[in-house]
Structure formats: C-alpha cells, structure tokens
Point group: C2
Chain length 198, copies 2
C-alpha cells in the first residue's frame, strides 16, 4: 500500500512535469513548480529523483520508449522495405510534431547526460535499433551502405522535425494543422530517394 502511494507520487510528478513542459515550455520547468503542481513540498521530488537532471532523464527515457513503441506500431503489417522506411519516418515526425517539448528534451544532451543515466540511454538505443533494422532492409534493396542510410535518413527526418519545431521553415512549409501532411510528403520523397535507386 505504502509502496503504491510511493509509486503514485513518482508517477504524478512525472505526469505533472510533462504537462508543465508541454504547456509552458521546457524553460518553465522547475523542481519547485512540479512539486507545487503535485501538491507536495518543494523537497518531495528529491525522494524519487536524485536531482533535476534525474527527473528529466526519466522523462527522456519514457519519450524514447514511446517513440520506439510508435515506430514498431507503424511497422506492423508492412513488409516492403520502402513502405516500412516511410512508416517509421512518419511516426518520428508525428511524435515530434505532437509532443514538441518532450521531443526537444530528448535531444538536449547537456540537460540529460546519457552516461549518467543509463536507463535513458538504453531507451534511446531501443528506438535507434528499430531504425537500424529498417535501414538494413533498405540497404539490401537500394545498394547503399546501411550506415549511410541510417545516418542520412535519420538526419533528414530529424532535421525536418527540429527546423519545423523551431519555426525555421514557416516560409517553405505550410504551418498550422496541415504541416503534418507537408512533413509526410517530404518523407515520401525521401523514400523515393533512398529506396528506388537508379
């Protein structure tokens, strides 16, 4: 019972943190504000997380887990490498565009140093593995090196996501709700580029 309550506050803190950064931005995140929102004293979070970085690391870990799950979900039932390639690309962009603050946090390595937070590192690796597998399939059919596909496909999709989230593409890509469609279009072009060579 006590353990359940314990787990409860941990969960409440994580949920409050995510809600906070997604609503007010990452800069608005503070230990004390999270505690306030959870209705506990300013030191209560330290019972579950060693410090500020640790709670952020936990959020990052959950983010990569969810990204992995969604990627795997998007792959379900698809067997053709090209289709699978676009599927994870779209899943990646979907996640980024619908959880901007969470996504950004996952790539702020000064805030969460992965060598100090192995769980976050492991979750990131889990999501990475999905990409590597699909890139391998693509490499088979396209003749590109697997490493090349991983690096450049990830770079393109990640770059597109970040630039859109930072508002740097408002001139070239439609903003508003239809930006997801625009992003999808870009991924489909990447599929052509990488999957049917020659």
């Amino acid at each position: 019972m006590a353990a359940q309550v314990a787990e409860n506050l941990r969960r409440v803190l994580l949920d409050a943190s995510l809600a906070l950064i997604e609503a007010e931005g990452l800069e608005a995140f503070s230990m004390r504000e999270v505690a306030r929102r959870a209705g506990v004293s300013h030191q209560a979070p330290y019972h579950y997380f060693e410090d500020r970085e640790a709670i952020l690391a936990a959020i990052v870990a959950e983010g990569f887990q969810e990204l992995r799950d969604r990627s795997l979900g998007a792959l379900e039932g698809l067997s053709e490498p090209a289709k699978r390639f676009t599927a994870i690309g779209k899943a990646y962009l979907d996640f980024a565009l619908h959880n901007p603050a969470h996504f950004k946090l996952m790539f702020r390595s000064e805030l969460v140093r992965e060598d100090k937070h192995r769980d976050a590192q492991a979750c990131a690796q889990g999501a990475y593995d999905v990409l590597v597998n699909v890139a391998d399939e693509v490499a088979q059919v396209s003749g590109y090196e697997q490493r090349t596909v991983v690096v450049l496909a990830w770079s393109a999709v990640h770059g597109l996501a970040t630039l859109m989230l930072e508002g740097k593409l408002t001139k070239a890509v439609s903003s508003g709700p239809e930006r997801v469609a625009a992003a999808y279009e870009a991924v489909e072009l990447l599929e052509k580029l990488w999957c049917d060579r020659g």
Copy 2:
C-alpha cells in the same frame, strides 16, 4: 571617446558571453557571470541589453551573419550548381562543428524569439537567402522543385549537424577530429542524390 568606451563594453560583453557559452556550455551562461568576466557590476550589461534574451539575440544575430559570410566565402569562384551545393553544405557543418554552442543557440527559438528581435531575424534571413539561391540553381539542373531542395537539403545537413553535436551518432559516424571528414562525405553523397538525378 565616451561613445567608444561604450561600444567597447558592449563588445566586451558579447565576446565574454560567447567565450563563456563556448567554454562552459549554454547552461553556464548568466548575466551576472558575463558581468563578472567583463569586470563590471552585475547591472552594467543592462545598459546595453534590455534583458537576458536581448544579449542572446545579439549573439544569435552575429552567428547568422558569420554563417552567411562563410557560406558566401565558400561559394566564391564556384559556378557549377552541384559544387556550390556541397560548398554551402560543408560550410554549414563546419560552422556547426567548430562553434557548437553558438550554433545550438541560433536554433533555440524559445530563448530568442525572433519576432521580438528583428535584427536576429534579419540576419537569419540573410543566411537563409544564400541557401535559397543555391537551391534554385540545383532545382534548375535536377528538376526538383526549389522548395523541395531547400527544405530537404537544409533538413539533412541541419539534422546531421545537430545529431552529431548531441552525440547521437557516435556509433555510426567517427567521432574525434575526423568527424569533419565524415560529415563532408555525407554532404558529397547528398550532392549526388540531389544534383544528378536519374
């Protein structure tokens, strides 16, 4: 004379800021630390910059200016669209890899809101224009839409830069000093992908 001294402190503050974030990371930046390093009181910087965001905006503006200058410099003497394409790609990666903190700051739109800092916005636009021009040339020879080249080429190079800076590609791309060569290699592959279609 007084005006010159005035300009001096402004310059000193900007230089101290840049040195600080490049040496200790963006998180280490604080108004008071900058003042300390410049040898002035903690409020002196407010004489030249309205607030924290304003000094960061000035740094961002200088960053985009330098990026534009380096891009134009890299283009000098090159006339073939494909060569020009790789040249600005390499210039972009060069800048990012050699000025990581500066580069990251330039794409942290929560820290520097461009609608509040038109000078930063204008400098960003200046760098963007260089890309747009080269993308236009590439579009002519490749048959892709100009908008497509802008978006996907920028995304790929920007994504590669950010992922490398965040240490997310250590498994797939060599780290250490030779990572610049690895990044160059990637850009050359992008040239093939975008410039000689079919």
